[in-house]
């Protein structure tokens, strides 16, 4: 079962969902609940969950096209082969320790950044845009690696998430020795 969750306002995600015409549940997470629950900091993020509700592969970066895979420096073919192996049951289940090793711990700064996002989101819905912008800025400064906050708030703030502000943000980020995507090893 595939479950896709748009960490978006419904109107921002609508045209993409309608064009895809999916047969699986396609959900809307405008408040970034998945960010809070799963410590997600960017999209796309995929999580494998087995029949018992156990996480067998935590937050990973995955694309369905090789072009997308190049953004994250991963082989989409290898990722899909691994996924098919898991779905078909031909992969040995990982140990709990192996799964835990792949989980990014939650920092206090990230947690607080999400609280500021949550506050900003509520203020934005109330039409208090200046106050919301202030909260989004605080969140972005607290957790500069959390692009759900830094980039995810751009549509709310009237900024193009693919425009000059984002290009400047990611150029600065990469220039400081960071990577934009942190995929798990394909194993």
């Amino acid at each position: 079962m595939v479950i896709t969750v748009a960490t978006d306002r419904a109107d921002d995600a609508r045209s993409w969902i309608e064009r895809a015409n999916p047969t699986h549940p396609t959900l809307i997470d405008e408040h970034h609940r998945l960010g809070e629950l799963y410590n997600m900091v960017n999209v796309p993020t995929v999580v494998w969950i087995d029949e018992t509700g156990r996480i067998t592969r935590p937050n990973d970066v995955a694309f369905t096209t090789e072009k997308g895979g190049r953004y994250a420096n991963v082989s989409t073919d290898e990722q899909m082969a691994l996924l098919r192996g898991w779905v078909r049951g031909s992969l040995p289940p990982p140990s709990d320790d192996d799964v835990r090793k792949k989980v990014t711990p939650l920092s206090e700064e990230s947690s607080l950044a999400r609280a500021h996002f949550g506050l900003g989101w509520w203020l934005h819905r109330e039409g208090r845009f200046g106050a919301a912008e202030h909260q989004f800025s605080i969140g972005g400064e607290l957790a500069p690696d959390d692009f759900m906050v830094r980039r995810g708030t751009m549509p709310l703030r009237g900024s193009d998430p693919f425009g000059p502000e984002f290009v400047e943000m990611v150029t600065d980020w990469l220039g400081r020795g960071h990577t934009y995507y942190l995929p798990l090893p394909v194993e």
């Binding site: 595939v2 396609t26 799963y38 999209v43 799964v99 609280a115």
Partner: protein, 136 residues
Amino acid sequence: MASLVLLDVGKPTEVEATIDVSGVWINSADVEAALGWELKPEGLCRDAICIPVEGRPGLMSDGRMNLEGLADLLGRPLAHSPEEGVAYMGPPLDLFNQTIRTLEAPDFTLPDLEGQLHSLSEHRGSKVLLVAWASW
């Protein structure tokens, strides 16, 4: 006395707040209404859990609780905008630590485009590929 909207992971409750040099203070009754934690002789309690409040300087005063002290007691992040009269308390940090300990995928309930709610737990018994994406 001022009005404060206290957001419990987004769920709003309007409470009365007193603001002074030592911070924002809310009544214990409002703490229960907004967050579900009740002040009892043994401490701040919810379900089977009670957290002692004695020995925490600055937390309690005349039946009121300091908002920042309360967030610290509960291990939850707090974002507060005094000028807007609203504060957001996020989920406890330990909630994610619990996820790491148990590896149990946190359940969630979210709407689709038609507003129909769906929960992860509905699909127990099947492997689930959870994909978070965005237009941005």
